[in-house]
Amino acid sequence: MGKRIGMEVAVAASEAAALCRFDMAAVYPITPQSHIAEHLSDIVNDGRVDASFMTVESEHSALSAVIGASAAGARVITATSSQGLMYMNEIMPIASGMRLPIVMLVANRAVSSPINIWNDHSDIMPMRDTGWVTFFSDNGQEAVDMVIQAYKVAERRDVMLPVNVMMDGFQLTHMVEPLIMPDQEEVDRFLPPLVPYATLHPDKPVSMGTLGMPDIFTESQKSKDVALINSISVIREVWKEWEELFGRKYEPVQTYLTEDADVALVTMGSMGETAEVAVDELRKEGIKAGLIKIKLWRPFPFEDLKNAVKGIRVLAVTDRAVSFGGPGGPVCSEIRSALYDEPSRPVIVNYIIGLGGRDVQVADFMTMVKKAAAGKLSEPYEYYGVRG
């Protein structure tokens, strides 16, 4: 029944991939993903999985190489961060367009310029529309679990899409956290061996990614969209099964004390843990605060969100990236449009927080809630704690 251990999250996430018996890994190192790169290399070198490990000359090649291997029928893994993810941007829609069940770990980090190696979500946000299933983990345990779940979702015949798993750089990747590492037997029971759908094989030739003329291109795009939208029911199923086997519950939108809440925070990623403490503190002060954590960014869980916000008067949505020149943060923008058609909806305020590793503490979340509850936010969105 798994072992409770203390482990650095980057290492633990790589261990989770090993439990999935990947066949091929291709990575290019980048802070704060490097420990994943190195640990995957150790795992392969130690013969703990029967896999090949490629250190390629860039992230562009890393994702290209895993696409090649996946197309040839291998279970693959890659990992990156920040500029590396930006550099993969060109290849990401290729992976989803070819409907390849690739799993990628992302150690979220700010993108340049100026150069910054610390955590925010400005790397994944521009990748939003590339057709990947996107999980956000809050803590080390979730990172581990989500890696294993990712393969199961990606490889389901009714999904066949790449999945990426977000873990906040440093805040998660470099922390030693207590977690339960599932054992091999359990994972084998949960995750059957990959039976590839279409494989490059001389006996049965296929073409992937061929020319799509105007008369077929729209259909190809719609089919990807439909597959991604429909994957939410598979994700629910997989998470249900996970809960039965491992006892840990996953939902696209996770709520904390929202039933009677007057004002609720919305977070995505590791800051949810801090926000949870803030909610407890606010409750002690008599403020009816709640918390909504988004775990599934794509496909966006519209229904779950609508249910979660019922009865809430004010929603304080936090974003760790900016849609420059746009409506504020990308998460808030999504939520606003998700709730637009609802007959009654909360007042929505948006805070841009934690950019490039800026610390956000319990007291900060408390201030955000109080200010939002008092309706004191004059701008469409606020850079919380910004100077100037």
């Binding site: 190192p29 490097s34 420990h35 290399s41 150790d42 000359e57 860039s58």
Partner: protein, 267 residues
């Protein structure tokens, strides 16, 4: 103008590890620039990302801090718009020849008047000691605990083959030669490549039992030799140092200027 004039003292002490070779390259470069008598406002240093690329933070030139692997592409843009400026591009082996390999060969091919400095420590220092395309077969790295099987590039051979018109190699042990070749490279009209073998005691040294920084520099002393020396003839495994290529060829910005003049003649 003293070399102190060229540095941003407020950013010292630097972030390199004790014994890192990159500081010696900085030293040599400062002297080369001083010997030529370049004014600091006439120099643009363009860097990517890496321990080596950090060199640009310490120099009081115009500095453009860009992204991993792309410094030469940015520098090409600067040079094309302000050909009168002196362009210096310090890069790590990973920066220049791994992720940036494509830009490297094309910059060589174009023969644009830029000086590329490859600080070759045979490892990705900044990200924690993973092997690079310059580590070479038989080396060890954090991503090659049981030995690397990737063959390496010969920077000099690649640069020559791709068309660079000035190509030299030196090491951090040979500080005088390092300074001289950098000086010649900067003065050369056309694309210059200077490979400087630099030590990373923290990763390459530790993973390959290279000993201390001075042990590693001792290897630079004993395992390298001037081009076509008697020692090289006796022991072909020695690595040659010196100027491998120094030829004149049309420089890109000048050629571009000529073509514009021709196209707009009489207008």
């Amino acid at each position: 103008m003293g070399t102190r004039e060229y540095i941003r003292e407020r950013f010292f002490p630097h972030l390199w590890c004790p014994g890192c070779g990159h500081g010696i390259v900085l030293n040599g470069l400062l002297h080369a620039v001083e010997n030529i008598g370049l004014k600091k406002n006439d120099i643009v240093m363009v860097s990517g990302i890496g321990c080596s690329a950090r060199i640009s933070g310490y120099l009081d030139f115009h500095t453009l801090h860009t992204i991993h692997g792309r410094a030469l592409a940015f520098a090409t843009g600067v040079k094309m718009s302000r050909p009168e400026l002196t362009l210096l591009v310090p890069m790590g082996d990973g920066d220049a020849l791994s992720i940036g390999g494509n830009h490297f060969i094309h910059a060589c091919r174009r023969n644009i008047d830029i000086t590329a400095i490859v600080m070759n420590n045979r490892v990705y220092g900044m990200t924690g000691g993973q092997y690079s395309p310059l580590s070479g077969y038989g080396t060890y790295a954090t991503t090659a605990p049981y030995m690397n099987i990737d063959p390496d590039f010969d920077v000099v051979a690649v640069a020559k083959a791709a068309g660079a018109t000035f190509v030299a190699r030196s090491t951090t042990y040979h500080i005088k030669q390092l300074t001289d070749v950098l000086e010649a490279a900067i003065l050369h009209k056309g694309f210059s490549v200077v490979e400087i073998m630099s030590q990373c005691p923290t990763y390459f040294g530790r993973k390959n039992k290279g000993g201390s920084a001075s042990d590693m520099m001792e290897v630079f002393r004993t395992r390298t030799t001037p081009i076509a020396s008697k020692e090289k003839a006796e022991d072909p495994s020695l690595i040659e140092r010196g100027v491998f290529e120094d030829r004149e060829a049309p420089e890109y910005c000048e050629e571009y200027h000529h073509i514009i003049e021709r196209a707009t003649k009489g207008r």
